[in-house]
């Protein structure tokens, strides 16, 4: 059965989520609109964090800060959510630190309101052995600003042939297993991994596509790809592989998580599998929820990703999947690439967009403001990602470690205007004016991000701390 060992706050199994040591926060968030869809909390409150733990939640205006140097944030009705979690990011370490590293990637996460992220293993070398995983966990303990977990590969070198030493990797703290970036094409290999899960535990997160159907495709197959003369990746490349893997998981009684759903057919396949009792969860990304292949007409390589942006009916099906619960969480698939790697013709460009810093704002602007999703549902889906890999989800409750994000829902900003925290700037929303902005992120009890304009007052009556933007 699953290998358990004591862990940091945020994890229930033997999974290790690791970040650099940081001073536990002492923070009074005064008059915030606290919203936690899981506890039903929804209203103006004062929230006190002492030594990194939520110690009091009371009616707005009723709490006073303790005498010692506790920071006070005047919320003025701005929203406080449980901080977001992302089960699917690429931190490009080891080997591709020119795109991202543990420090910049987790800084980007914190700036987007995330308190925990799970990194994918398609690095160079692949995260497929205990020494590499161990070295990364050590590095994260020095560099990561928010807790990071690692999902090592299902197969050595992502080659799809031999299984990694999954039990040993789990003992070290693997957050699950994935060959993300590639499908496990050989059904026999995947079946062995699903069987082996009974020994070592760990959800298998699956990137689903049939290489024979995707071919050399560079975008969604449809009218736009036809007009552009670019080879297409058909929706059925994804949905047929998902159908196969759901059938295998059902047969083996295994637990799988389907990554980055993009197509209507895929949502249908998962709904059917769930109704038959298959232990499957799935995610959708902010870009697949807000953009379509119409947005690829300019051949902006920042909008080239795998799976590709699909048709409007696919986008609508994903939104409906969030509403009806078929889709369990939103995950960014944050995939940084250096500028010169993306400044090439579309067909030659690598797949991927960054997403951590825009995840909440993009979905809020495009789906919550027009009334397609409720705010509570968005928060629920952005905080559910660790639940999908059988880890705890953050919550605003007394006694819980502080994993909080303060958001100004009225603030407007232009994506990329003042740069990014990520090392890379390949954001598919670049140039878009978005509404809502993360002001403050508390991750694992410590302040991980603070927007420059946010005003902090020391409770001892000391000088107010203001960023340069607030002064001008």
């Amino acid at each position: 059965m699953s290998i358990h060992e004591p862990t940091r706050p945020g994890a229930v199994s033997g999974v290790r989520l690791v970040c650099a040591p940081a001073r536990p926060a002492d923070l009074l968030l005064r008059d915030v609109h606290a919203l936690d869809p899981r506890t039903g909390l929804d209203g103006r409150r004062d929230v006190l964090v002492s030594d990194g733990v939520i110690t009091e939640i009371a009616a707005a205006g009723t709490l006073t800060a303790p005498e010692d140097a506790c920071e006070v944030v005047e919320g003025e009705g701005r929203h406080l959510f449980p901080a977001f979690v992302d089960p699917h990011v690429h931190l490009r370490t080891p080997g591709q630190e020119h795109k991202e590293d543990l420090e910049t990637g987790t800084r980007s996460a914190a700036a987007g309101g995330f308190c925990a992220v799970i990194a994918m293993p398609n690095t160079s070398p692949t995260i497929d052995s205990a020494p590499i995983l161990g070295a990364l966990l050590d590095a994260a303990a020095r560099e990561a600003r928010v807790p990071v977990g690692f999902m090592p590969a299902i197969t050595r070198g992502l080659q799809g042939r031999e299984l990694t030493d999954m039990a040993e990797l789990r003992q070290l703290g693997a957050a699950g297993f994935t060959d993300d970036g590639r499908p496990v094409t050989d059904a026999g290999v995947l079946r062995r991994a699903l069987q082996y899960q009974r020994l070592c535990g760990g959800v298998l997160a699956l990137h689903e596509e049939d290489p024979a159907l995707s071919g050399r495709g560079a975008m969604h197959e449809g009218a736009v790809s036809t007009k552009l003369g670019i080879a297409g990746i058909p929706s059925v490349s994804e949905s047929t592989q998902i159908a196969r893997d759901c059938a295998l998981a059902g047969y083996e009684g295994a637990r799988i998580h389907i990554q980055h759903l993009s197509a209507r057919e895929s949502v249908e396949v998962i709904a059917t599998a769930k109704s038959r009792g298959v232990a499957v969860t799935c995610e959708a990304s902010p870009h697949h929820l807000t953009l379509t292949d119409e947005d690829v007409r300019t051949l902006d390589t920042r909008r080239k990703m795998n799976p590709p942006l699909r048709a409007e009916e696919d986008r609508q099906a994903l939104i409906e999947g969030l509403r009806d619960g078929t889709i369990d969480c939103i995950a960014t698939d944050h995939a940084p690439h250096a500028r010169d790697e993306k400044e090439v013709p579309f067909e030659e460009a690598p797949m991927g967009t960054t997403g951590l810093e825009t995840a909440f704002s993009a979905v809020y602007t495009d789906l919550v403001l027009p009334g397609e999703l409720t705010l509570a549902l968005l928060v629920e889906k952005l905080t559910a990602g660790l639940g999908c890999i059988d880890l705890l989800v953050p919550s605003i409750a007394v006694g819980e470690p502080a994993n909080l994000v303060l958001v100004d829902l009225a603030a407007e900003w232009v994506v990329g205007e003042s740069g990014y925290e990520s090392r890379s700037d390949n954001c598919c929303f670049a140039g878009r004016r978005l509404t809502s902005r993360v002001l403050l992120t508390v991750a694992a009890g410590a302040v991980a991000y603070r927007e420059r304009s946010i005003m902090l007052v020391l409770s001892s009556g000391g000088p107010s701390l203001r960023g340069p933007e607030a002064e001008t």
Partner: protein, 313 residues
């Protein structure tokens, strides 16, 4: 017109103006001394990332007949294989201050990308399977010469539509000029959603007789390896334009080079209905008109602010 990147970007008026000017340049090609000083002192750079003899020499002749200086830059393989990125190559060549760059690459949208990196006027001479706008213009020119007008004419484009930039540009151009377009080929080589370009789709040649113009596309041998069609023999049996299928009053076109015995039988290539060499001849005058248009015709627009990234589709 600042650049010629796509038929999609230009209006019917633009097309008519270019074709009229091409007609005016006809006379130059018939002179003993085939040169006018229209672009004297201008530099045209041919940047070709794909093997091409006819398109490149056609552009070279066109530029020289307008007295422009011509530099040819050929790169084998893709920019990635070569080591230097497309952007770095363009920046390097831009340092020589070319007035126009004629770009052919194996990648869709590359010409538009280049337009964002250099102040030179860009002429797309084929970007992947996306577009080949000067081919469409010279085909429209040829048909206008033969038929007077394309209005209401029925044009069939037959063959490997999926991998053809010529098909994409020509569908758009012929539609813009008022013609009806039907594409016909094996279902494996007709891309999904092609109807959105405004054409009809057929999978056999049984109604070919309704066409005024039959435009055959080149069938590439590598398509056999990829299982798009079972064999050349089967392809020819179903889609070859031959004396039996081609009606007596139909015009036959082909962008070249022809695979005799595959998409066209020898007898139709040599028949008076074929206008294939006329197309090649039109290539030079139409490209003269295009170079004139982007270099001399739009002189007063050159200081205008550059538009944001063009819509390619």
């Amino acid at each position: 017109m600042r650049h010629l990147l796509s038929i999609n970007d230009i209006t019917r008026d633009d097309m008519e103006r270019i074709l009229d000017r091409a007609a005016a340049f006809e006379e130059v090609s018939d002179r003993d001394i085939k040169k006018v000083p229209a672009l004297r002192g201008r530099t045209v750079l041919n940047l070709f990332y794909e093997a091409s003899t006819r398109t490149r020499s056609s552009f070279e002749l066109a530029a020289k007949r307008l007295s422009a200086d011509v530099v040819n830059f050929s790169a084998g393989g893709s920019s990635v294989e070569k080591g230097e990125s497309l952007k770095d190559t363009v920046l390097t060549l831009t340092a020589h201050s070319p007035d126009a760059i004629v770009v052919r690459t194996p990648h869709a949208g590359a010409a538009a990308l280049v337009a964002g990196w250099t102040p030179a006027a860009i002429v797309n001479a084929g970007d992947g399977k996306h577009e080949h706008p000067t081919q469409a213009l010279l085909d429209a020119y040829t048909l206008r010469t033969k038929l007077g007008s394309l209005e209401g004419r029925n044009i069939w484009i037959v063959g490997d539509v999926a991998h053809s930039r010529v098909a994409r540009s020509n569908i758009l151009a012929f539609r813009k000029m008022g013609a009806d377009v039907t594409v016909c080929g094996p279902p494996t080589l007709i891309p999904r959603g092609i109807e959105a370009l405004g054409c009809e789709v057929r999978y056999d040649l049984s109604d070919l007789r309704e066409a005024d113009v039959v435009y055959a596309l080149r069938m590439q041998h590598e398509r056999m390896d990829q299982n798009f069609v079972p064999s050349l023999r089967e392809y020819a049996a179903n889609y070859q334009i031959n004396g039996r299928r081609l009606g007596p009053h139909q015009i036959l076109m082909h962008p070249g080079p022809v695979n005799r015995g595959v998409e066209l039988s020898g007898e139709v290539v040599d028949s008076p209905q074929a206008v294939i060499t006329m197309q090649v001849k039109a290539g030079v005058v139409v490209r003269m008109a295009v170079l004139y248009e982007v270099l001399a015709g739009a002189r007063d627009e050159r200081s205008a602010p550059r538009p944001t990234q063009p819509q390619l589709a």
